[in-house]
């Protein structure tokens, strides 16, 4: 399939990625596979800063031409910053899902939760089975 799966982030079964930014912070977005499945993203409903989420909570909403999907919190976390660029340029999620298309920066409640998520190799295998 040839989807981009960087080695320096962790993955969830719901196709979110989360990248350890050090100092107990992490960045969250959706994967290349997810943006391809969604097709052209037209709107991203971002959380508020300081909003708290438990792992698995619906955290954001991504709307494409053909569907509306929840983005779930990969870990227990508190939002410290959001990518406001997405409000006027949701296409960044399609163009650069792991870079300019990031969605939220969070403070981790428990950084060890990251280790429980899939690494790039596990995720590649997971998406191959899902496709």
């Amino acid at each position: 399939m040839g989807f981009d799966t960087p080695e320096d982030v962790r993955y969830t079964e719901e196709h979110e990625w989360i990248k350890d930014e050090g100092d107990g912070e992490a960045r969250i977005g959706i994967t290349d596979f997810a943006q391809d499945q969604l097709t052209d993203v037209v709107y991203v409903d971002l959380p508020f800063t300081e909003e708290e989420f438990d792992q698995g909570d619906a955290m954001m909403v991504v709307e494409s031409v053909k569907s509306v999907s929840d983005v779930y919190a990969p870990v227990d976390c508190t939002v410290t910053d959001i990518n406001e660029e997405l409000e006027t340029a949701p296409e960044l999620v399609n163009e650069d899902p792991y870079g300019d298309g990031w969605m939220a920066l969070v403070e981790l409640d428990d950084p060890s939760q990251l280790d429980e998520l899939m690494d790039a190799e596990d995720y590649r295998e997971f998406t191959e089975n899902e496709a």
Binding site: V42, S67, S69, E91
Partner: protein
């Protein structure tokens, strides 16, 4: 494959908006200049802010737009979930009856006995159709019907002192439900608990079991469900919901699949709403007036909205509007609801009678199954092979082998002069094409639709992915429209 020189071709007019046709302020033949209109000077103005266009040009404008649009009166309209059945012109004529048309909601009860009688009788018939005990005609649409029903459930538990932070605070909804269900429950003040469907597309009984508790106020269910499958365990579901003391709510979106054959009441539901524009063939409108009557059991009757229409043959006048009901959730809509559309629904029910309604249901179900059986090799539909009034076919095979998506199939159908099915919904099916022919289509029309779908599956991908070729407009920039919506004439001119 349609002959593009001789087959369907949609009318095309390069028609400007009425604002572009504006000839500016013109002398009015109704208010000649200098005439005494009797209005205070400070309340009058020269420009009404609406375009002035010659009558002949206005007529041409709307005729041209009508030629460029497509409706049930033009051709096959298998838009799944929407029940696009034929709207009988006889019902339209009845709704234009002078007595009904010119009645005013503030007239005295004595002077509008006819229309109150009509509405009372309609409520009575809906009650019978639902297999329940009482009906309100007030809600302005199906979604408001859902909201009203959830408010009634809330009032019911509040009345019994059962409503609390950990008690009767949740509404359980399957993931295949219409999006309005969770919205209505949340607006009525409940927490929403979504449960996954089973592999067969129906309610997963163990997931339901896990979700139900004394926290549950209601379970909202659409039967048959969004995949057009009848919930085989509906009686068991009713028992489970009632065992925890909760109420079972019937979303009437798919009532056209069971109308006159079985009923929500017979299946154990406590409340139900009707979508009159679907089930009873009233106009579907771009936000135009709708009606979403709600039926309920005797137990929930005290909570119905006001006013209630009452009948007492001994009294004078016989029909009255009762506003004095202390347990009612209150008024939910101005006056008596959208009466005009209710008159059309009453006409539909009376024209068909109970046998006719059941007959329509059987035809709608037979039509859906006929199309499913003929197309299932090219467009398989998940779930059991026996469908109700609609089914969700998948273009996933075509997508994989030829790169033709559900959207491409939908666009290519337009070249055959056929409206597209619902696409990409429900989301539980990949490359979904949701098909609902309704009872309106004849065998010949169904065959033409099936032949079109099958020929598209055999066409070269280039023709399909660049379709439509014979419509006034071909592919529009739907991504651009969603990202930068231009919704007013002013906005368009600022660009």
């Amino acid at each position: 494959m349609p002959d593009e020189d001789r087959g369907f071709r949609q009318a095309y007019w390069d028609e400007p908006t009425l604002f572009d046709l504006d000839e500016g302020p013109q002398p009015s033949d109704q208010f000649p200049e200098g005439a005494d209109h009797g209005l205070p000077e400070d309340l009058t103005r020269e420009d009404a802010g609406v375009p002035t266009v010659m009558r002949s040009r206005v007529t041409r404008h709307f005729t041209r737009l009508a030629q460029m649009t497509y409706g049930v009166d033009t051709g096959t309209y298998p838009l799944g979930s929407c029940t696009m059945k034929y709207n009988a012109k006889a019902a339209e004529l009845l709704a234009q009856d002078e007595g009904l048309l010119h009645a005013h909601p503030l007239q005295r009860e004595e002077d509008v006995q006819g229309i109150l009688e009509l509405l009372y009788d309609l409520g009575d018939r809906l009650r019978e159709i639902a297999g329940l005990d009482a009906v309100t005609l007030q809600p302005a649409a199906g979604a408001q019907g859902e909201f009203v029903a959830m408010r009634m459930v809330r009032a019911y538990f509040e009345d019994r002192g059962e409503l609390g932070e950990d008690s009767r605070c949740e509404v359980v909804i399957p993931d295949s439900a219409h999006g309005t269900n969770p919205a209505s429950a949340a607006m009525a003040g409940f927490d929403v608990l979504e449960i996954p469907s089973g592999d067969d597309g129906c309610v997963d009984l163990s997931a339901l079991e896990d979700a139900l508790s004394e926290r549950t106020a209601a379970f909202m269910l659409t039967n048959p469900n969004t995949l057009g499958l009848f919930e085989q365990n509906v009686e068991k579901i009713a028992e489970m919901v009632h065992d925890v003391g909760a109420k079972l709510y019937y979303d009437g979106a798919n009532l056209n699949a069971i109308l006159g054959v079985t009923s929500p009441g017979a299946m154990g539901f406590d409340l139900a709403h009707f979508n009159v524009h679907k089930t009873f063939a009233t106009p579907h409108g771009g936000g135009g007036p709708g009606a979403g009557p709600v039926a309920c059991t005797d137990e929930l009757e005290p909570y119905l909205p006001v006013p209630r229409i009452t009948r007492d043959p001994e009294a004078e006048p016989e029909h009255r509007l009762d506003w004095e009901r202390e347990d009612s959730i209150g008024a939910v809509r101005g006056f008596h609801g959208n009466v005009g559309v209710l008159v059309r629904a009453a006409a539909y029910i009376l024209m068909h009678g109970s046998d006719g309604l059941a007959d329509n249901t059987r035809r709608a179900v037979a039509n859906a199954n006929y199309v499913h059986q003929r197309i299932k090799d090219a467009y398989p539909a998940p779930g059991g092979d026996l469908k109700k009034h609609e089914f969700v076919a998948s273009a996933a095979d075509l997508e994989e082998t030829k790169g033709i998506t559900a959207k491409d199939v939908a666009k290519r159908l337009l070249d055959h002069g056929i409206h597209a099915p619902q696409t990409y919904w429900p989301m539980v099916v990949d490359e979904a094409l949701m098909i609902e022919p309704t009872e309106t289509e004849s065998r010949e029309e169904l065959d033409a639709f099936v032949d079109a779908l099958l020929s598209i599956a055999d066409e070269d991908p280039e023709t399909v992915t660049s379709a439509p070729h014979t419509t006034a407009l071909s592919r529009v920039d739907d991504v651009g429209a969603a990202r930068n919506p231009i919704l007013t004439w002013d906005q368009a001119n600022d660009e």
